[in-house]
Every structure is written in structure tokens, then in C-alpha cells.
């Protein structure tokens, strides 16, 4: 690295050319980044639950992709009914749409002189207009509870159109479709009101809002960083250079994302913010050292070189530890977290590398060609100095109190952390006022539910689903499931077969049963398919009638509901209520993925937390060549991380694909603070061999850099607050909070621990420094009034690092 820095300063054009070349290359890749908000990708990578879900999706045709609700005081009026027909016609004309089912064209089964008749509710293209016709439609719609809650509300104030899309329609196509639908419905608005929801739309809109978010985040974080840099350096190059190099690091990361085919998800969409907020520290470090050396007279290329070489190690350490903590997320079974871990680690290392090559190169160029910038030390009011003094006095004088408070907070937080809930619930990611969430809520109130769930029956061979015993067991389970709360509707082949059987027997309700003959069932279904219902059947049975499914419409996509359904299904299967033909009853659907996500997210959270702690201990131990200091460095990290989970538990913030990155982020940033404090402390203990004094100096010097950095990162993450997603908003606040708590912990809990339990550093003392360690009691501590000269010297250089 030393050589590379030398080269960068010696041959700036080369470095700039290479960096720009690489940047152009990556920039051209960025448009290839795919947005993939689908839930199933969260669990890819051979997850068995995901595999079942994908198999089910493959085997059965979609039942509903987009649900359009039309609400009015009474939809049984000629004008409302005409609107259904017109809207359905227009939607069917859209290239993505396979079919639209609604109350006027849904299959109606009735007995007739020749046996049984399966035909659309009203004749194709017609709309009931006379009171008699409308009364007839109403009677038909009320005759089978299959329609209620699906195509019509019980009270007749609402009706729904169920849109099924072609197989090849990609998520990217759905957002434009959604807006076309919105425009279309706008024209029909009044007195009827329209609402659009459905799993496909929710997923697609998530992707859409992600892009909207990025359009806010990127300028916002750039703006915030710009202001912070300006406040800090008050110079154009002090603002421009770090900002340019952060922009480049972001371009590289997003470009790599495209090359690796990593999709943009809610989690990876925060990458630019994370990189800019976290990565800014390295550039600032470098620039600050160069500027302050220049102010002290070490100017020109030699001054630049020595400043960059000196800051090299601490910057590398900070970057590597942060990258290591982020990379711990790659152990996660949650795919977006894994992606985030890898890309953020890459981005951090890129920002680090650029701050030691690209920035020095640019500085060298500017220094040799233009006027050298020599900062004037503005004597602005210093807020941080007194705070640091107070903190150091507190840590030294009341170390037990601080540790006590730490322990109490830790325990309280543990208690709260136990209450942390996990949930992957796409619709709840949206803000409560967003149109999609409002629509979804209303549709769930009025209809069976917008969330779909599948209970799949697997049998021994082709056509076995038509076996009466199989259908009977399906019916039994279906009834059991309907008894569960929040299940709005359960539909399967059973309903069709029973209805046809009843129709065959003059509509006698006593025959609303499954007929005892497999042939009869098969022929009912054949008749149904010959009567134009073939595509409907594909949602209920697979290609070979080897698998059948109960479709559940639910009012919530929650994993808790999924658990209840799964328990019911498993208990049912275990109790032997299915015939031998049935080889398995599988519960699947988006809500099952959510449940699996919950299981994995907790497990992976523990794992990445553990891995990041171990990595960080190892790296710090390596840096300090002392395992002991490695351990000390993580002490101030544990409390804030647990505190974060405690706050989440008490505030009811869920652990999800966004908030799951906080722990790693906290550790990655917090470890830098520990290292700053510890390295300065170690330096001072070797010089003075006086714990309180070493702590005092360490806090008053490194503390400033720590607080500045923590505040900057916290403010940076606050740009996430206006996000379109509740979960990202919460992430912003929680990260801001953990930045404050980790920085404070490194300035209170860490020194207090050092006071109470000073590590024996005699064996890893700095070469050439011989000291006799005398442990002093807290009472004999050095206070702020006797601050050593070193502190005063550092005061003018807020970001000056003294590691090494």
C-alpha cells in the first residue's frame, strides 16, 4: 500500500485514468441492474420451502394476479353492471392479460332439461338491464357461496374483477400495467370507487417504490454529505474530492451488482446511502491530515506524501474492520442480506482504496498545478470539547456507575429483545397512507382476502385427484381451514364437483356432495372443461390431475397465520384422515415464505452477529497484536447492539430484510471507535503509564473524531426516513440511533472498563518504550483541568488521528 500511495502521488494522471476507466466500465453495467421485489428470491439458494412454492406455482395456473374492487352503494344497477363489462373488455385487450373473471362471466352451474348446464353467468357481451334480469343475476350470484367474497360482496355493495396475467409477464411490466389500470379506472370513477391490489401488484409496486426511493436517497445523501464536508473543511476541494470518490465507489458497487446479476431489493436499495454515509470517513481522514499538515507548514508533495502515509494504517484498519463486519452478512440464508453483505464490503473497500489512491492523486495534481490550500483554523465555538471532558471525567470517576448503567441497559434491552417480532409482509412495508395499502385494506374488508395461500394434495398417480375419497378428504380439510380466523375463502375442485352434482339432481341441496364415482367426477370435470371452463380448472389441479389444491384467500399475509394453517394441515394429515392415494399435503404460498424467512432471519441474525464479533476481535487482535485488546474492543459494541434490539422489541419494530443489517452496521462502525480509543489509550499508557491520564487523553483526542463521524453517519442515515417503505424509514432511525449509542459506549463503557479492569499491556508494549505500570485508583485520577499538552495540541485538529 505504501508503494501504491507513492505511485498515486508520483503519477497522478495514471491513477486518475485507471480509476476513471474502471468507473466508466462499471457505469455502463449499471443499467443492467434488475429490480426483483418478488418474495421468493429472498429465499432462493435451494431453500426447501421456496422450492415447494416454486413447484406449486409451476404446477397450477394462477388464480388471481390483480384484484380490482368496485364499490358503490349497490352494484346491481344497469350502469354499474355495464361498467363491469366495459372495464373487463378493456382490460382483456391489454397484451399482458390472459383473462378477466367477474360476476358477469364467471361460470354458473345449473340443472337443465338435458342434465346440467355450465355457462357464463350472463350471456357473452350482454349486461342485465331490466329489473327482472338484474333480479335473476342477483339470485344466481346468491345461489352459490363460491361467488360471495370472491366476485361479489355479501351486501351487494361491491364486486371484484380478477385479472390473470400471461405466464411470461415479468415484474417489470406490471408497474406500467398498474398505472394503465389506474388511468382506465379513473375514467369509470363515480359513483363507483375502484381499488387495485393483489400479490403481483404489491410485489411490483415494491420495486417501483424502491426506484422512487433511490431517486430521493441519492441526491439527499449527496446533499447531506456535501453540507457536512463543507462544515468540516470549508473548502471546495475538501467537499469535492471525498464526494467524487464516494460517487465512484458507489458506481463500482452498483456496476458489480449488475455484473454479478444481483437484483435490486429493498435491502440492496440502501447500498448507496450506506456506502456514502459510512465510506465518507476515509476520505475525510486523509484530507484532514493533509490539510492540517499544510497548516503546520508541511506543504507540497512531500507534505502530502507524509500525511497520506501516516494516515494509511488507521484508515486501512477502519475500512477493513467495517468491511469485515458487513461481510458477516454473507453467512445469512436470506439472499438479499447475503448480497448486501458482499456488496457493502466491496463498496467500503473501494471507498477505502480510492481515499488512499485517487484522492492523493487528485491532491497531488491540484497542489502542483494550483495554489495549495492551507486551511485557516476558524475559532468556531467548540461544543464537543466540553462534552468530551465531561465524559472522560465521568468514565474515570464513576466507572462502576457507568458499568452499572451499562449492565442495567443491557439487561433491560435483553428483555426487550426477546419481544422482537419478525415478519416479512410486503404490504406492511408500504406506508399506511399509500394508495396500494389503502386499496388492500379496503379489499380485505370487503372481500375474501387479497393474500393467497395454497394447500396442495399430492397423489400416487395421474388422475387420482378425481378419486372420491381424495376429494372427500380435501373437503374435510377445507372446512377445517375455513374455521380459522382471517381465512376469507377456501376454494377447490370440491366446490365445482359438488355444485355440478347438485345441479344434476334438480338443484336439490341434499346432493351438494361429492359423488361416489370417480368416472362421474371425471366426466363432470370434462363437461366443465368442454363448457369453456378448462382454464379455470388449471388453478385447481395440475397438468395430470396428480395434484390438486385448496386455494385459500386470506386477509393477511402474516407468517403467524401461515403457522396456524400449516399446523392445521399437518395435524390433519398426521391424523390419517386422508386416503392412501394421498402421498402428501403441502402448505405453501407467500405467507409460508414469510414464515420461513422469520425462522431464517433470526438464525442468520445470530450467526452474522457471532461471525462479525469473531472477525472483529480477530482483526483488532491482529492490529494490536494483542488478543486482549481485541476482546476489549467489542465490549462497547455489545451493549448498543443489544440495546437496538431492545428498542425494536419495545417499539414494536420488526426484524426484517432491512432492520437485519443494523447489527452488522453497528459493529462495523463501532469497532472503529473502539480501535481509535484503544490505540490512543495504549500509546498513552506506554508513555505515561497512568490509566486515568491515558483515558483522558484518548477520549479528548479520538473522542472528537468519533463523535464527528458518528454524527455524520447518523445524519447520513436519516435520509432514509422519508422512504416510501416503513421498514427503510425505521432502518434510518435505528442506524442513526446505534451510531450515537456505539460512539457513546466507546467513550463511556470502554474507558470505564479500562478503569475497572485495566488490561495488562506490559507484554505487548511498544518497542523501545519501557514503562513500569502502576495502577492508580479512580480517586487519584487525572481530571480535565490537568489535561496534558497533547490534548491542547489536538484541539485545533478535530479529525486528527493518532493511531500508531
Amino acid at each position: 500500500m505504501k508503494r501504491i500511495i507513492g505511485f498515486s502521488i508520483g503519477h497522478p494522471w495514471w491513477v486518475i485514468a485507471i480509476v476513471l476507466g474502471v468507473t466508466v466500465f462499471f457505469a455502463f453495467q449499471i443499467p443492467k441492474v434488475k429490480i426483483d421485489p418478488r418474495i421468493e428470491i429472498v429465499l432462493r439458494d435451494n431453500n426447501p420451502v421456496e422450492a415447494l412454492y416454486s413447484e406449486n406455482k409451476e404446477a397450477f395456473a394462477s388464480y388471481v394476479d390483480i384484484l380490482i374492487g368496485m364499490l358503490s352503494t349497490d352494484i346491481y344497477t344497469p350502469s354499474s353492471l355495464a361498467k363491469i363489462r366495459e372495464i373487463a373488455g378493456e382490460i382483456e385487450g391489454m397484451p399482458e392479460v390472459r383473462k378477466v373473471t367477474h360476476i358477469l362471466n364467471v361460470k354458473y352451474i345449473e340443472g337443465s332439461e338435458a342434465g346440467l348446464d355450465v355457462s357464463p353467468m350472463t350471456e357473452e357481451g350482454t349486461v342485465p338491464a331490466t329489473p327482472e334480469e338484474i333480479a335473476q343475476l342477483k339470485a344466481k350470484a346468491g345461489s352459490w357461496d363460491l361467488y360471495t367474497g370472491t366476485y361479489i360482496t355479501e351486501d351487494g355493495t361491491g364486486t371484484a374483477l380478477s385479472v390473470v396475467l400471461h405466464d411470461g409477464v415479468e415484474t417489470d411490466d406490471i408497474v406500467p400495467l398498474y398505472y394503465r389500470l389506474m388511468d382506465l379506472l379513473e375514467r369509470y370513477q363515480g359513483p363507483e370507487e375502484f381499488f387495485i391490489s393483489g400479490p403481483t401488484v404489491i410485489e411490483a409496486l415494491q420495486g417501483h417504490y424502491m426506484l422512487k426511493d433511490l431517486n430521493i436517497f441519492i441526491p439527499l445523501i449527496a446533499g447531506v454529505t456535501l453540507v457536512l464536508l463543507f462544515l468540516f473543511f470549508r473548502s471546495f476541494r475538501g467537499v469535492a474530492l471525498p464526494l467524487i470518490s464516494l460517487g465512484i465507489a458507489t458506481v463500482w458497487t452498483m456496476g458489480l451488482m449488475a455484473i454479478l446479476g444481483i437484483p435490486l431489493t429493498v435491502t440492496t436499495s440502501v447500498l448507496p446511502v450506506v456506502l456514502i454515509a459510512v465510506g465518507s470517513a476515509y476520505g475525510i481522514h486523509v484530507m484532514e491530515n493533509v490539510f492540517s499538515d499544510a497548516a503546520e507548514g508541511r506543504k507540497g508533495i512531500p507534505g502530502l506524501t507524509s500525511a497520506v502515509q501516516r494516515v494509511r494504517l488507521p484508515v486501512i484498519m477502519a475500512g477493513c474492520t467495517t468491511a469485515a463486519a458487513f461481510s458477516s452478512l454473507t453467512t445469512s440464508a436470506i439472499v438479499p442480506l447475503k448480497h448486501f453483505g458482499a456488496l457493502s464490503a466491496f463498496g467500503i473497500l473501494a471507498a477505502l482504496a480510492l481515499s488512499l489512491t485517487f484522492i492523493p492523486a487528485l491532491m497531488a495534481l491540484i497542489t502542483s498545478r494550483f495554489r495549495e490550500y492551507v486551511p485557516h483554523h476558524h475559532s468556531s465555538r467548540d461544543f464537543i470539547g466540553p462534552v468530551l471532558k465531561r465524559l472522560s471525567r465521568l468514565s474515570v470517576a464513576h466507572s462502576w456507575l457507568i458499568i452499572g448503567i451499562g449492565v442495567v441497559l443491557f439487561l433491560a434491552a435483553c428483555f426487550g429483545a426477546l419481544r422482537v417480532k419478525t415478519d416479512l409482509n410486503l404490504i406492511e412495508d408500504f406506508r399506511p397512507s399509500s394508495p396500494i395499502r389503502v386499496a388492500d385494506r379496503i379489499l380485505n374488508e370487503k372481500f375474501g382476502g387479497t393474500a393467497l395461500f395454497n394447500v396442495e394434495f399430492d397423489t400416487t398417480g395421474p388422475d387420482d385427484i378425481k378419486e372420491p375419497a381424495v376429494l372427500e378428504s380435501m373437503e374435510l380439510l377445507q372446512n377445517e381451514l375455513m374455521g380459522l380466523e382471517n381465512i376469507g375463502k377456501a376454494v377447490s375442485l370440491v366446490d365445482l364437483v359438488k355444485k355440478m352434482n347438485q345441479a344434476m339432481h334438480d338443484g336439490d341441496p341434499a346432493f351438494y356432495t361429492i359423488p361416489p364415482s370417480r368416472e362421474l367426477i371425471a366426466q363432470y370435470l370434462l363437461l366443465f372443461s368442454f363448457s369453456g371452463g378448462g382454464s379455470e380448472l388449471e388453478s385447481f389441479a395440475d397438468y395430470g390431475y396428480e395434484k390438486g389444491q385448496i386455494l385459500l384467500q386470506m386477509k393477511s399475509q402474516s407468517a403467524y397465520l401461515a403457522q396456524k394453517v400449516e399446523d392445521t394441515v399437518n395435524a390433519f394429515y398426521a391424523s390419517g384422515k386422508t386416503p392412501d392415494d394421498v402421498t402428501g399435503v403441502i402448505t405453501t404460498g407467500l405467507a409460508m415464505l414469510a414464515k420461513e424467512f422469520n425462522r431464517l432471519v433470526i438464525q442468520s441474525q445470530f450467526r452474522s452477529f457471532g461471525v462479525s464479533l469473531v472477525l472483529v476481535v480477530l482483526i483488532t487482535a491482529l492490529i494490536f497484536r494483542s488478543f486482549k485488546l481485541g476482546l476489549y474492543s467489542v465490549i462497547p459494541l455489545v451493549v448498543p447492539v443489544v440495546l437496538n434490539f431492545g428498542i425494536m422489541g419495545f417499539a414494536g419494530i420488526k426484524l426484517n430484510a432491512a432492520t437485519a443489517i443494523i447489527a452488522s452496521l453497528g459493529i462495523g462502525m463501532g469497532i472503529d471507535y473502539s480501535i481509535h480509543v484503544l490505540s490512543r489509550y495504549r500509546h498513552e499508557i506506554h508513555v505515561h503509564d497512568d490509566v486515568p491520564r491515558a483515558i483522558d487523553i484518548a477520549l479528548n483526542t479520538s473522542g472528537r473524531a468519533i463523535l464527528y463521524n458518528a454524527l455524520a453517519v447518523a445524519v447520513g442515515f436519516l435520509v432514509l426516513v422519508p422512504s416510501n417503505f416503513v421498514i427503510i424509514s425505521e432502518l434510518g432511525i435505528l442506524v442513526a440511533l446505534i451510531m450515537i449509542t456505539t460512539s457513546l459506549a466507546s467513550l463511556t463503557i470502554l474507558p470505564a472498563t479500562l478503569m475497572v479492569l485495566p488490561p495488562d499491556l506490559s507484554r505487548d508494549m511498544e518497542p523501545g518504550v519501557v514503562t513500569i505500570r502502576v495502577v492508580k485508583t479512580p480517586a487519584a485520577s487525572v481530571t480535565g483541568e490537568k489535561a496534558p499538552d497533547a490534548v491542547r495540541n489536538e484541539k485545533e485538529k478535530p479529525y486528527r488521528e493518532v493511531v500508531q
Partner: protein, 262 residues
Amino acid sequence: MRCSVALVLAAFVCAVLLLTPASVARAEMSAYDIVKKSEDLLDQADDSIAEMLMVLINKKGDRRERTLNASVKKAGEGASKSILFFNTPADVKGTSFLVWTEEGKDDQQWLYLPALQRVRQISSSGKGESFMGTELTFFDMGSHDADDYTFTHLKEEEIDGEPCYVIEAIPKKVEFYSKIILWIRKGNFIPAQADFFDKKGTYEKRGTFKEVQDIQGINTPTAIEMHNVINGRTTLIELKNVVYNSGLSDDIFTQRYMKRGK
């Protein structure tokens, strides 16, 4: 003039084949003439009988088979009658399907279900739906009037080494397909393949005549494939034991006969 334009994939079912030797094509033939000639050649016989094997293959390669016996008879100018008896799958054995077509009128269709022991008349509203789970719709299975289409001779092209006329057929009123492109062999005027575009103009499926046999002097497609590019499914249809002009009685094409089964 009734023509099974939709590549007459249903030729073996609904159209009846004649016995005219393929004549030599003249270069100046119009697109309409080519199609008409092709139709005439396929539509030579007064009646036909065949055993059909349908193999349904989904995207994953799972195969399902169904077998049926088909009889078709001409019933005067522009009219025909056909009847299908299902043999497998076992649970629909004995089921039969009768269709009467007449120019300018809706088809009349009946379904006999042995388990119900009743013949049902079926409305033709579901013509766009799949026939028995195949990639052919009821519409494909039916016959079509060439006058409902406008033909354009696009170019000439080789299919499997055989030169073909490439003809575009656009329906005058779009009902199920917005466009069909036909490849008709220059040598014998038997279609080689056809591409179907759905009513929104999306390329939906390709039908191919895999095998053509000379049966009683009539060039007869005996292996047909329909591949749906949207859902990835394929249907193979094989015709066996084809017999032309055996003098089928009108009694066969009645509701009463449906119940008797094959």
C-alpha cells in the same frame, strides 16, 4: 366454400379429404389460390375414419396421453358432421363428442357422458378454450371459411429442404387469432407449418405437419405437432388406421349413436 385455414390442424377431424393428385403449381398463383388448392387437396374424401393418439407434453416434459376414435362425413355443400369417442383416460372412456357444422351458422355440439347417461348440448361459447387439455382450441378443431380471411403471398422459403409458399392470413374479423402465417409446400400443396398470433398480436403457437402419408392416394398429414410458445407446452397428434370413403352412415352422427359408444 369452407376451408380449414387454421392449418387445418383439425383437417383429420372435421374436414374430409378428397382424392385429387397434386397438380403442378403455377408461379402466378395468388395467395388465395394456393390456400384454396391446399384446402381442396386435403378436403377430397367424402368421409374418413381414424384413430387418434394425443400426447400432451408440458414445459417440464411430463407426458399425458389420450386416445380417441374419430369419424367425419361431409353433409352437403359446406356442411360436415364429426363424432369423437374417447378411449383413454379410463375415467372418461365411452364419452363422445358430436359436432355438426354448417356454413354461416354456429356449430352444434353435443357431449355424451356415460356416467351421467345423458347427452348434453354444449354452447359454443368456449371456443377459445383448450380442447381436452391440448394446445388446440375448440376453434382450431373446427372448420373455417376461407372467405373470412385475407391472404397475402409474402415470400417463398424452404422448410426442411422443401420449398414452401409463405402466406399470411388475416381474419376479416378478429375473434381468436389476429394473424396466421402458413407455409404450404410447393410440391404437393400440403401445409408444412403455421404460426398463430393471438388476438393481441402476440406470437402464440406453431403447428407443424411432421409426417405426411399417402393414404388411398391422398396426401394425409399423420403426425402433427402444436407447440405453444407462451406456456411452453406441446401437443403431438398421431393418426393411425386412416380409412377414407368407407361410406359412413348418417346414423353414426346422431345423439342416439353417441350413447352406444365405439
